[in-house]
Every structure is written in structure tokens, then in C-alpha cells.
């Protein structure tokens, strides 16, 4: 078994994309979807998810064209030095800004349930240290940690969703795309909705570590498809249980769903805390992969071989950013720009880079 080098299997790459994509967003996604599309929010999530599957094909193909390099390395060659540099900075910013958001969500989840009143320095600080410690490891180690944690989180999440079927009413999912319920003027929320799907940068950064780069596209598409499926299922069940009107008002709808499945207490009085505990692992995988990719990308940009130095150097900045805003929902409003950046990269830069790579290939022929 190799450490470093080409050590990742296609399955591990799929799970890394899933681990990066599925995080705190899933706990709030149904509310956002309900706010914009009403009862048919689940269908909108499915449509957006399938759109991203299309982009995943492009991202995967692009990665396959440069199996020895990350997007940071080949983008300046395709876009030119200046635009390439600007793209790289935007790309790294996109990866990096996920981390403080991720920390903020964790802080709030912990304060809401596990440790009410625990100071920010303690919760965010310890979590940030755990992120930096994990992200400074080798890529195969990160893939293994992600492989285990994301599977546990998805399993517990699906258990909650399936268990909450007892309160599910299919009528809540109708009518489909009713004009009265759709509020497309809420651009901020719509962008926030799409941001949840933006996990494709992972593949363009880890392709040099994939054992068989030819499987990259398949792995990427599979991951995007799973993300679309999981989000749709979760949104559909949340809307089916609460109805879209109630769902709009529930900030942490995922937790409310877990509370709804509380049956007669046998071992534990409440099940929602079990969801939170397992969801910490989902949050952690997102933060871990982001931190690792930021370290890797910045290392390549400034030509520092030891990514651990960069990761640890960013810890105080990340802490400051995560603690500077009052709560996650303020972050959400602020992070619209980040979501917009994610959209631009996914729907404009990926096709552009792929097109340029094809043209370059033709020229060489």
C-alpha cells in the first residue's frame, strides 16, 4: 500500500467529493428550498443536483486531461498567466472560505445542543486544531478518515430520514411548481441553495493522487449523483413531514426532523443529539478536506513543499474569520458572494477550461 503518490482509489475519491459536499448545509437546505420553491422545493433540489452532475462530467474530464497536475498548476497555461493567477486566487478563496463557515456551523450546533454556553474559543479553537492536525497528514490518510466518517454520518442521517417516515405525508409535496409558492426574487437564498452542491473542486485537486486517473470522471459523476440524491431525499422527507410553510420557519430543520422521530426512550431520551454527534463527523470531513486542499493549493501557488506550514499558519486567520460574525445565518448572507463565485467557477470556468484544453490538444495534433 502506497503512502502519498497515487494511493487513492476511485471509491475514495467519490467519498471525498461526498465528504466535502455533505456537511452542515444539509441541515438547512430544505428550509432554503421551501423558501424559494414552496412544496416543490425537493424537485428543485433534484433539478439543481442533476445540473451539477452535468458539470461533474466536465470537471472529471478536465481532471483526466491533466492526470499529473492540479488545477492550480495547469490553469495558468490554459488561461494565461494573469487570468490564471486570478482564477487560482478565486479558486483558493472558494476552498478556504468554506472552513470558517464550517466552524461557525459547528459552534452553533454544539452551543444549541451538546454544550450550551460553551465559549467560542473552546469549541471553535479545539475544532480548528483538530482540522489543522488532520489536514497536515498525507492524502491517503485524509481519504481514509473521510471514508469512515462520512459513511457513518450518511448512515445515521438516512436512519433519521427513514425513521421520520412515520410522520410523512405525501400531500405536503404537492402541488408541483405552483406559481403561488415560488419566490424566485430571493436570489440570496437561491445562491445559497446552489452552494451546497459545489464540491467539484475536490476532483481537480486530488487527481494526481488517484491510482487510476481514467476513473476520475466516473467517480466524480457518481459522487455528484449521490449528493443530488441524498439532498433530494432529505428535502423531500423534511417537506413531507413538516409541510413547506412550517419548513420555512425552521432554521435547523434537520435537527427538528431528528426530534420528530423520538420514540419511547429506551437507551437515550432524545435522538437528535445522536444525529448531532454523528453530524460533527460530516462537518469535520468538509473542513478537513477544505483545509487539506487549501494547504495543497497555496503550497503549489507559493511553491512551499510542506503544506503543513501553510495549514498551521492559517489557523489564527481562520479562527478570526469564524468568530468575527455573530452567527451562521449572518454568514449565509455574507457568503452569497462565495456562492456566486462557486457558481461562476462551476458553470463558466470549468467549461471554459475544458474547451481550452480540447483546443490545445487539437493544436498539438
Amino acid at each position: 500500500m502506497k503512502t502519498g503518490g497515487r494511493s487513492l482509489s476511485a471509491r475514495q475519491v467519490t467519498l471525498m467529493i461526498l465528504g466535502y459536499g455533505i456537511g452542515g448545509g444539509i441541515l438547512t437546505l430544505p428550509s432554503l428550498a421551501a423558501g424559494i420553491f414552496g412544496a416543490s422545493g425537493w424537485l428543485a433540489v433534484l433539478v439543481i443536483g442533476l445540473l451539477y452532475v452535468g458539470v461533474a462530467w466536465i470537471a472529471g474530464r478536465l481532471a483526466e486531461k491533466f492526470p499529473e497536475e492540479t488545477i492550480i498548476e495547469y490553469s495558468p497555461r490554459l488561461l494565461g498567466k494573469v487570468i490564471g493567477l486570478l482564477f487560482n486566487l478565486a479558486f483558493i478563496a472558494l476552498l478556504y472560505l468554506v472552513i470558517p463557515v464550517n466552524i461557525r456551523i459547528l459552534q452553533e450546533l454544539v452551543n444549541i445542543s451538546l454544550l450550551p454556553g460553551a465559549p467560542t474559543w473552546f469549541v471553535s479553537g479545539t475544532y480548528l486544531l483538530a482540522l489543522a492536525y488532520g489536514a497536515s497528514r498525507e492524502v491517503d490518510q485524509i481519504a481514509q478518515v473521510n471514508e469512515l466518517l462520512i459513511e457513518i454520518a450518511i448512515f445515521v442521517g438516512l436512519f433519521v430520514v427513514v425513521a421520520s417516515f412515520q410522520h410523512f405525508d405525501p400531500i405536503h409535496l404537492l402541488p408541483v411548481f405552483s406559481k403561488d409558492q415560488i419566490n424566485l426574487d430571493q436570489m440570496e437564498q437561491l445562491l445559497g441553495l446552489t452552494f451546497a452542491f459545489g464540491s467539484l473542486p475536490v476532483v481537480n485537486m486530488v487527481v494526481p493522487y488517484i491510482r487510476n486517473p481514467r476513473q476520475t470522471t466516473k467517480a466524480t459523476m457518481k459522487a455528484s449523483f449521490f449528493i443530488a440524491l441524498i439532498y433530494t431525499f432529505f428535502t423531500a422527507v423534511s417537506l413531507g413531514v413538516f409541510g413547506y410553510k412550517e419548513a420555512i420557519d425552521l432554521s435547523w430543520i434537520g435537527l427538528e426532523l431528528a426530534k420528530s422521530v423520538n420514540s419511547r426512550a429506551v437507551i437515550l431520551q432524545r435522538l437528535d443529539l445522536v444525529l448531532i454527534v454523528s453530524w460533527i463527523s460530516a462537518l469535520y470531513t468538509t473542513g478537513l478536506i477544505s483545509s487539506f486542499l487549501v494547504g495543497l493549493a497555496l503550497g503549489q501557488l507559493v511553491r512551499v513543499r510542506k503544506k503543513a506550514y501553510i495549514i498551521w499558519a492559517l489557523v489564527p486567520v481562520t479562527y478570526y474569520l469564524s468568530a468575527s460574525l455573530k452567527n451562521y445565518f449572518i454568514w449565509t448572507r455574507w457568503s452569497i458572494y462565495v456562492a456566486l463565485l462557486s457558481l461562476v467557477i462551476a458553470f463558466f470556468f470549468y467549461p471554459l477550461l475544458y474547451f481550452l484544453s480540447l483546443r490545445k490538444e487539437k493544436r498539438h495534433e
Partner: protein
Amino acid sequence: MKKRSFRRARPVAEFRKEKAKKERAGNEGGPPQEGPALTTDFTANINYLKERIGVSNDVVFREFVFPLPEPVQAVLIFVDGLITKDTINEYILLSLTTFEAKEADWAKDRRNLAEKVKDHVLAINEVSLESNLTLMITAILSGETALLLEGEDRALICNTRGWEHRGIEEPSTEAAVRGPRVGFNEILRSNTAQVRRWIRDPDLRVKTMKIGLRSQTDVALVYLETVANPELVAAVEERLKKIEIDGVVESAYLQEYIEDRPYSLFPTLQTTERVDRVVGAVLEGKVAVLVDNTPFALIMPITFWQLYYSAEDYYHRWPLTFLIRVIRFIAFFFSLYLPAIFIALAVHNPELIPFNLAIKIAGTREGTPFPIFLETLFMELAIEILREASVRLPGPFGQTIGIVGGFILGDTAVRAGLISPIMTIIVALTAISSFTAPSFGVAITMRILRFPLMLVAEIGGLYGLSLATIFLLINMTGLRSFGVPFLSPVVPLNLSDLKDSFFVAPRWAMIKRPLVNEPLDLRREASKANHWWEALLMPPKHRKRRRGKGE
């Protein structure tokens, strides 16, 4: 075959090697690798040997005359207690002193006398010629007998090894309800012979080397040449050869040198004194290292999960083994987390405990003077002290200590109101769970880890425990056993090897050896199936025949 990368045994190995070389250069006490050669001067040779080893009273120099037409002075040198006297008396001394030269033409010419004696006189099965004095001394100190002849610059080394030793007994540390009742003993040759008895395959290799500058301990690598990955064998051999210490008292000495991560709490090699376990491992493509003077063999590579498998697992029918393993892993979870989870729930999230249970716990804790964390800590420490005391005392006393400590002390403490009854249940369940680990090494690791987890639970509750678990996971995913990921086959997932993990497939479905060992010969069973899940649908042929005959 894929290229396999093995990490270096120790980052400091080079440094140690250099240091040891420097020390040896300035130190004449240790035996150098190259020594003086024997000369034709018989007296000088004897004087040298007497100076080097003759000071000790257990080294015997038996001088006699070899009755050739022109009598030859001879000496037998051996260590009393390490040889079989009968062999020396009957097959060496008797043969040499009663030799009738008249009947042998070769005796007329004294040239190459040592070789002629070897071929015509000595009735010993293992005899070799040695001209290096240092190697000769090593052979004598290992139980062999050296025969020096006047005028010869080569000595005859006869294998006369034999000493008092423990017989083959049932292993005391790895008891099993079903399975062979034989374990290794302290004699290396006896141990390798036992493995040979089990595997009568000409491909079974036993490579012996000496480790320990002063102890010159025999260490044997045991593996199947056509099954074990040659890179694995080479890596084990290389790491062993790099070891430069004065002595190897037990296989644990080697273990610490050849592990991939010497600072890790988790053992990344398996120790066992069961012959069947070593045989099973060798058949799977692993390498076993047997060390003279200890019954404990080392097996490599291993995974974390294998530390929780017992040799007996393979002797029961698969549904029972499956159940036993599930129970064992639940016990593993309890032994590591139970006190910590109790602290986290009781201190930070009592609302999670069902109402009736919470009331009961609160009722039993009324009047106890210590906070929950300290109470748990004291009880855990008490259990550890009891455990240590019971191990140190002789058998019956040890059991008495366990009973007195466990029942009387616990009961008295509860009656005195010092601890709550729920705490005795938690601590007892944790202690009993920790005994289910078949590997002593991993059980100790769990015992050590339990204390920081309790502290983390006190400070950070379930959140702290989640983070601590993540830390633990990161650490475990970084571990390798000779290149094999420690958590394999769960992460990275290896479907083929899952047949022998939490889940246990029937013996007839385990058609392939574990892939993590990257064996040369993958198949262990003739079957049309390519994977164990396919083989599950193809029960053994003889069963079909039986059914066909109407049984």
C-alpha cells in the same frame, strides 16, 4: 504485481547503527564480526581460547590423544549444560579414543586430517569445519562442541546441543475451548519443527540469523516462499538485520525495532505463543519471526481488527464466530468508551438519559462525596491496581485478590457511601469487556486510552469525545504494519478481505488469501467462484452429492 512501499523500520535506525559502530570501534568487550583465524600452532590456539572463554568454569577443555600411528594431541571444547553428554561421550570421545588406525589407510597420511576425521570417524549428523576463532567461540557458546586437532588450522564443530527445557504445553495466555493444545516453548528448533509438522510443504522456509552483539540470539523467519510476498520477506529481513543491540531477551525487543511506528500506542505486530496461529498466518502469506528463548512469536503484517480475532475463531462454525466477533467488538467499544460516555452524559447531557434511569442514577448517587469524574477515575485506578496485583501474585492468591478486591472492596465502598452502585456496574462492565480482547497488547492500549477519554468527556462532553475519536482515527489511519494500512479492510475498503472481518464467511467461501498481504499465490481453494460472495452460493461439492443420494 503492484509495487509495494515499506516504510523504514525506525527513523533513528541509521543514527543508532552509526553510533553502535563507533562504540564498537572503541570497545573491545563485544565480539567483533571478523576475528583472528586458527593457526597450525595447537598450543597458541588453546591459549587464545582459554583466554577468551576458558576463565568461566562451565567451559570445559577436554584434552586427549587421538591414537593415529603418530599420536595427535586433541581437545574438545564445550559448555557444560548446553550439550548432551551422551553424544559427546559415545559419538565423539569414544570414536576418537578407540580408533584403530591400522584398519584405515587414510590415517597414514596426516594431510587434511580434520576433514578426514569428519568423514571417517565422527558419527555425528551435523559437523562442519571452521577456521575463524570468533565464529568458533560463538558456536561453542551456542551449545556446539569444537574439536581441535594438533597441527590443524581448522576446527571441527559438532552439533551436540541439548539442554533442560520446558516441554510442549498448552499456551497459558491464549486459552481456547476448541483447537490444538500446543504452544511454543523456549527452544527455537523445537518451535520451527512444530511449524514444519503442520506445514509439510517444501516451500516452507526457515531463515535463521543471529541478533544481539553479545547474546547472539538465534532468530528465525518463517514463511512460505511461493505464497508470501518477497518484498515483505525482504523488508522483515532488512529490518531485523539493521538491529544492533547487545542482547535479545524476548521477542518484544525485536518488536520495538521493526514496527513501522515505534511511538504508537497500538501494537502493529501480533504476538502469539500458539503454533496454530503462526501456521494460519504463514498460510495466509504472512511472515512469522520466532526467537530463541521465548515462546512468543511475532506475526506480520497485521491489521487492527486482527488483534481482536482469536485463533479459536476459525475452529467454530461461521455463524457462531460471527456472533462471537460482534460481541467482542461491542466489548471493545465498552472497554474504551463506557466510563467516558457515562461521564459525558451525567455531567453535560443528563437530559439524554431516559427519565426513569436518570432518577435512579441520581438516587444512588445521593450522598456520595466525590464528583462523577473523580469517582470514575478512582474506581478505574482501583481496578487497574487489583489487576496488577492479581497478575503478580501466584495463581490461587491472584484469584483471591480478584475476588476480595472486586466484591468485598467494591461492596464495602458502596455501603460506606463512598461510591455509587451504578459506578461499580460501569467499572465492572468496562473491566470485563477489556478481558475479551484476545491480544494482550491491544487490551493494554485500550486501558491506557480510557483515561484521557474520561478526562476529555469531563471537559468537553460528547463534543469532546467526538473530537477525541476523530484524533484517534487520524492516528490509526496513519499506522501501517509493513506497509499494510492498520484499519484495512474497513478503510480503505477491501471487499475481498471483508470475508474475515466483523463478518465471517464460511470456510469454504474463503477462496482467496487476504489481499492486504499481497500474496504471490492468491488462491487458497479450488473453486469456480472468483469472489467469496460468489462462492457463498456454491457450497462444497460433496454436500450436493450427499443430497443427491437422498441423505
